[in-house]
């Protein structure tokens, strides 16, 4: 039997709330700490001088005017996907099917480009592409939502399976429409006529960035100031409360997932019509998953997501610059992104909880 009762060295207390200023400080410190760890990892694997590492990251993302635009454009796409997923997450609906919703939207756009390429005037064609992309994305989001609403099917796994179904459908159509036969890819669609290519405002990157900003503002207003947004937060906080308040949560789930999937479809449209002008199974490039983390890191705040997606894209481009210049594998960026994410995920603890150490004399 123990006779002497020992008091633990520290215990953990939940904070009531932390001023925004300190929250930002904690996150900033976490990012700085993560960058230091990343730099150490980079120096060990590449044997580069640590300052050279940071300058390489910087030149990878902002080295020339073109690179700056590409960084902003990629940020815009990631931002749109993250914004698309946000209303679903706020409702505690874990939509990790962003990848598939983007892909199937892209397929919708590409299909219209191929089928109607030389039959319709350009503005009509682009409008049809947009509609079919958004519609297919919304459908892809609605299917798991309907299962969830009626039978409470686990949405994490059903949306995930929808990703792979979308990938195989795209794989099917890439061989169906392959140019030339036997190459296994579609190649640039309408290269001579540019039919269905997104028109440019200023330069070819600006329009996508403007759309992303509009979506950000729109999503902020939608979540914060509309009845739908309010219903989403109530369903997310407690389904019981929602039922008590007369909110039909099944309907809210389906409606929100249609919006979520539709916006992912928009991102797919922009990727196909505005950037790649072709469709492959990797056109979404894992951004459906990265966007989950962007949305969560920003605590579902649309404006904070701008910063989060810029950070992720910046590091990705930087890491790819380093891996190219050192002849290393492109996946280096994923390792760096992973490390940063671990630190930011971990730092949330210090925002929500407080560690109280044992005081001398035995009384805490």
């Amino acid at each position: 039997m123990k006779t002497k009762k020992s008091e633990p060295l520290f215990h953990i207390v939940k904070r009531k709330s932390m001023p925004i200023k300190y929250q930002m400080l904690v996150r900033l410190l976490a990012i700085v700490a993560a960058l230091i760890v990343c730099a150490v990892v980079t120096v060990i694997t590449t044997k580069m001088n640590p300052f050279a590492v940071f300058s390489a990251v910087f030149s990878g993302a902002f080295g020339s005017t073109r690179k700056v635009w590409i960084t902003l454009q990629d940020t815009a796409i990631l931002l749109i996907i993250a914004l698309a997923l946000t209303p679903a997450f706020k409702m505690k609906f874990w939509n990790i099917g962003g990848e598939g919703q983007v892909l199937i939207g892209g397929l919708g756009a590409a299909a219209c480009m191929i089928v109607f390429g030389d039959k319709l005037p350009d503005p009509v064609l682009i409008l049809i592409m947009l509609l079919s992309a958004v519609g297919l994305g919304a459908l892809w989001g609605a299917i798991p939502a309907i299962f969830k609403a009626i039978w409470n099917t686990n949405e994490t796994l059903s949306t995930l399976m929808m990703n792979y179904i979308a990938i195989q459908i795209v794989a099917f159509f890439t061989i169906f429409w392959e140019v030339p036969k036997g190459s296994g890819k579609i190649g640039i669609i309408n290269q001579n006529t540019n039919a269905g290519w997104l028109f440019s405002v200023g330069n070819k990157y600006l329009l996508i960035i403007i759309i992303a900003i509009l979506v950000t503002v729109g999503m902020y207003v939608y979540l914060k100031f509309t009845k739908h947004g309010y219903e989403i937060s109530v369903v997310g906080e407690s389904e019981m409360t929602a039922r008590y308040a007369g909110i039909r949560s099944g309907l809210v789930i389906i409606r929100t997932m249609i919006i979520s999937g539709g916006l992912c479809g928009l991102a797919g449209f922009l990727l196909v019509s505005g950037i790649h002008h072709t469709i492959t199974t990797t056109v979404a490039g894992g951004q459906g998953f990265t966007a989950v983390m962007v949305s969560w890191l920003a605590q579902f705040n649309p404006f904070a997501m701008m910063g989060a997606s810029l950070l992720i894209i910046l590091l990705g481009h930087g890491a790819s610059e380093i891996s190219t210049s050192c002849g290393l594998n492109q996946s280096f960026g994923d390792i760096i992104t992973g490390i940063i994410l671990f630190f930011i995920i971990g730092c949330e603890f210090f925002i929500r909880y407080r560690v109280v150490f044992r005081k001398k004399g035995g009384k805490a």
């Binding site: 792979y164 998953f289 996946s331 671990f342």
Partner: protein, 331 residues
């Protein structure tokens, strides 16, 4: 018609990584942790084994490899790698109470990146002069089947033609099913997953059980990655070859309603579905149809998910606190 004697061994070969992942994830989920990082963990388990084997093969070039070391070094490296991933997941979700879905996805990003990075850069980083990572010597030890398998015709082919890691997968799954159901540790673990508050009040160390179950689960899953590289792929690492098996393993957990015994049958079924497209005649001028056949396992998973949720039976439900962090002061 499908040649079953040729088909079944290939289906079982495909099923082993799924079974490892599935058993590992069941153990993890029984503690209330939904570890979406399993795909990443399996990559890490695979590549760590490759790194270990690569180092040992380089060290014994021209010389003779000791069979025991050739097997133990990759296994220990693989276990260590996946253990570290498990500890990281536990530290973030149990100790720091982070969101499990986000942590899991971050681990998958990291793990897949880690696997592909070292898979693609190992040769350059170690400064050796071999063209590709082909660990055929190590693989020979791993895929060595029972000596009398060849003499027993179809019986030998279907039951005895696998490397030892395949048999370990089946033994582990059966043992996990037994331990969860019949032992005191298993009972405590299930209590933690169902209602950590009650378990805590009964004097069970919730944190210790969560750490233990998740780390063991990750180590088991990591062996799946090792099996894939060393046995199935004959010791040749190619980036992204492991594919989405980790995700399928997580889906299998629901398919087999958290019972490792059913997991064995389910994984063999899925292993078969995974390669069935090779056996459906499509003709040379309709190669695109093969891509549609590859969709079958995912569609089946989706249907199974929906059907199990429709039936909604009491004994086929997930652990009640799955995915939720436990904080004693919030009871």
């Amino acid at each position: 018609m499908i040649d079953l004697v040729a088909f079944i061994p290939r289906a079982i070969g495909q099923s082993v990584p799924l079974l490892y992942g599935c058993t590992g994830e069941i153990i993890t989920e029984k503690s209330g942790n939904l570890n979406l990082g399993i795909p990443g963990v399996m990559y890490v388990g695979g590549i760590c084994g490759v790194i270990g084997a690569f180092a040992y093969e380089q060290a014994t070039r021209g010389g003779q490899m000791v069979g025991f070391l050739a097997i133990m070094i990759p296994i220990l490296c693989s276990l260590l790698g996946s253990l570290l991933m498990g500890l990281l997941y536990c530290f973030l979700t149990v100790t720091l109470r982070a969101n499990q879905n986000v942590t899991g996805l971050a681990m998958t990003t990291f793990g897949v990146g880690f696997g592909n990075f070292f898979g693609g850069s190992l040769i350059k980083l170690s400064g050796s002069d071999v063209p590709t990572i082909a660990l055929s010597r190590t693989s020979a030890y791993f895929s060595c089947s029972l000596p009398f398998a060849d003499h027993l015709g179809w019986f030998g082919k279907i039951f005895l033609s696998y490397g030892f890691l395949a048999y370990i997968a089946f033994i582990l799954a059966i043992y996990a099913g037994f331990a969860l159901k019949k032992t005191r540790t298993g009972l405590h673990l299930r209590a933690v997953g169902e209602n950590p508050g009650t378990a805590d009040a009964a004097g069970i160390n919730v944190t210790a059980y969560k750490y233990m179950a998740t780390c063991i689960g990750c180590m088991v899953a990591g062996l799946g990655g090792l099996y894939y590289v060393m046995d199935y792929a004959s010791g040749i690492w190619s980036n992204d070859a492991f594919g989405d098996r980790g995700w399928l393993a997580i889906a299998l957990v629901i398919f087999c309603i958290w019972k490792p015994g059913i997991g064995i049958i389910a994984s063999i079924l899925f292993g078969g579905l995974y390669i069935i497209y090779l056996y459906i005649p499509a003709g040379m001028d309709h190669m695109e149809l093969k891509e549609l056949y590859k969709m079958i396992p995912y569609v089946v998973t989706l249907i199974v998910l929906v059907v199990t949720s429709m039936r909604n039976k009491r004994d086929s439900q997930p652990p009640a606190s799955l995915g939720l962090p436990y904080f004693r002061e919030e009871r």
